[in-house]
């Protein structure tokens, strides 16, 4: 794939009279970890919602892997290889950790198989076990997701996304609410994943953002204020005054 993996062109989203997105233009390049930053209400999560089909945009087009997905439904977009985690961690609480990963893996094989036994679905079983291993969740495999610690739920949610074998992974504040040890573990995981999957991350922790990202998109008031490498963004006077709050610039 030579072109950008995700192209967002003139995307608007209005809630009544409020323009949550007022014409967003952005591209995500393959092979680079992109971070979206911006103050609360900048439209970061709304942008994720529009890209993943949870919200329909009021105007504009979105292309993923060169395909127009502007009007596609959530599950169709997922099947094209776009996965995401939510700001409020979203897993299947009543199922065990392994069942959570298993059904996500099986979603690629198709679930309309009413006469197949889940225990004999080999690929999904292998993939669930591999992910348990990779995320060091094997010891929690038969625990109900509802009983996990916050950090493990966040990890499980990333695992569910990975089980769908995405080409692009959108992470919405993956380390929000984590302690220092959990943050470090998660950041390491994201860094490692970014070597094989394209990742876009919304994050408030500026230190983490400048540490792990290759590209930064700065949003404010439903628009893209600036984009560039971490070095360019930290030099950008407009961003400094508007967002980083650097008064003596």
């Amino acid at each position: 794939m030579s072109g950008p993996i995700l192209e967002i062109a003139d995307v608007e989203k209005h809630f009544g009279g409020l323009a949550a997105l007022g014409g967003v233009n952005a591209t995500v390049e393959s092979g680079r970890l992109t971070a979206i930053i911006g103050p609360n209400g900048a439209g970061k999560t709304t942008l994720f919602n529009v890209v993943t089909g949870i919200l329909a945009p009021s105007a504009g087009t979105i292309r993923f892997l060169g395909r127009d997905i502007t009007r596609s439904s959530v599950h169709e977009i997922s099947r094209l290889g776009l996965a995401r985690t939510l700001q409020i961690k979203s897993v299947f609480h009543g199922l065990t950790v392994r069942e959570n990963l298993w059904i996500a893996a099986q979603s690629r094989e198709g679930v309309f198989k009413p006469f197949a036994n889940a225990k004999t679905c080999r690929r999904a079983n292998e993939q669930a076990d591999a992910l348990l291993e990779e995320l060091a969740l094997t010891r929690l495999a038969s625990q109900q997701a509802a009983n996990l610690s916050y950090g493990d739920v966040a990890l499980l949610e990333i695992g569910i996304a990975l089980a769908t074998e995405p080409k692009l992974l959108l992470l919405d504040e993956p380390i929000c609410g984590m302690g220092p040890a959990e943050t470090e573990r998660t950041v390491e995981k994201i860094r490692e994943l970014s070597k094989r999957i394209d990742i876009v991350i919304i994050e408030h922790d500026i230190e983490v953002v400048f540490d792990i990202s290759d590209d930064i998109i700065v949003m404010a008031l439903g628009r893209v204020l600036a984009r560039g490498t971490p070095a360019e963004i930290s030099e950008n006077a407009e961003v400094r005054s508007a967002y980083l709050g650097d008064d003596d610039a």
Partner: protein, 337 residues
């Protein structure tokens, strides 16, 4: 002994009891309890249909009696008005119920929670009043009775028919058993797990690429099929169809049976249905306000055992299995559901 082994043992005891009931029950209680037992098993399918939707997909339907009614009228109209034989009439009932579920479901499963519950009630009321007023076809208030066609006739002197009470009993448990076996298979399949993910978190289910609408619709049609089989069996059982069985009271009763038995457990509905039908048979003529007791039981179950009697059973089995496990010195526990 593992939890799975205890469950298998419990199932075997239940199956043996059911097979032997025509001889066992008359030894202990009056012979008419054999009939009541087969009636319980038929009604338990209606509760199972509620359970399939509520316990596994998270959709609370107060309209399953509609599909029961379609199965029932399909058989009665098939035999009494169209002159169909046993199997074509049975088929007509089940196909009508399933088709009705496909149509009603296509609209209803776009909604969830109270909106879904309300639209299922509305659908069943529409057809309840239709059945009530379409006298030439349904018999209206009086219902529609018919005489039993034979299941199988060989020559002129040998036939198999539900007029033989033993044949009737075993036919009923065979069909009911097949329905539970079918649900058991589906619930262990990828589709069954997709049902549970939709129940747990519909947004996450769609984010992993599952078509939530199609999954809900499939479950709705499957539940309509099960309720339709129950209705068709019930028509044969009573040689009769009546609009009163389509009223939403009947749907509501099935919801109560499913919840008391344990939503989200395969055989919970059998337990809930049996318990409440026994209560009705034993108490209703002694105490006309016995429904107060049913209400109290529902409240207690919802508060203290939200997963119903089926959930209580599974918790007990796990505890016994764990105790046995510790005595034996370790080994892995079994997963749930």
């Amino acid at each position: 002994m593992t939890a799975a082994a205890i469950n298998r043992l419990g199932l075997a005891v239940f199956a043996l009891f059911t097979l032997a009931a025509p001889w066992l029950l008359p030894l202990v209680v009056d012979g008419f309890w054999v009939d009541i037992y087969s009636e319980m098993l038929i009604w338990s399918l209606l509760a199972a249909s509620v359970n399939l939707l509520f316990g596994y997909v998270g959709l609370l339907s107060f309209g399953q009696a509609l599909f029961f009614g379609m199965g029932m009228y399909g058989v009665a109209i098939g035999v009494a008005k169209l002159g169909l034989g046993f199997w074509p009439a049975f088929g007509l009932g089940v196909v009508l119920a399933t088709a009705m579920a496909a149509v009603a479901g296509a609209l209803a499963v776009r909604l969830t929670w109270h909106y879904f519950a309300i639209i299922t009630v509305v659908f069943s009321l529409i057809f309840y009043f239709t059945a009530l007023s379409w006298k030439p076809l349904t018999g209206g208030d009086d219902g529609l009775s018919f005489s039993m066609p034979p299941m199988l006739a060989l020559g002129d002197d040998w036939e198999l028919s539900l007029t033989d009470s033993t044949v009737q009993y075993y036919f009923i448990i065979l069909v009911v058993g097949a329905c539970y076996a079918l649900m058991g298979v589906i619930l262990k399949s990828p589709l069954g797990w997709a049902f549970r993910t939709v129940r747990e978190n519909a947004t996450r289910a769609s984010l992993i690429g599952l078509n939530v609408y199609l999954i809900r619709l499939t479950a709705f049609i499957a539940a309509g099929f099960i309720a339709g089989v129950a209705g068709a069996l019930f028509a044969f059982f009573g040689r009769y169809a009546s609009a009163s069985y389509m009223f939403y009271h009947v749907s509501g009763e099935a919801v109560v049976w499913a919840i008391i038995g344990g939503a989200g457990t395969l055989l919970g509905p059998v337990v809930g249905t049996s318990l409440l039908i026994v209560l009705r048979e034993e108490l209703s003529h002694a105490w006309e306000h016995y429904l107060i007791l049913v209400g109290v039981i529902v409240i207690l179950v919802v508060i203290f055992a939200p997963r119903g009697l089926g959930g209580v059973w599974h918790a007990l089995v796990r505890r016994v299995a764990r105790a046995a496990d510790e005595d034996a010195g370790g080994g892995d526990g079994e997963g749930r559901s």
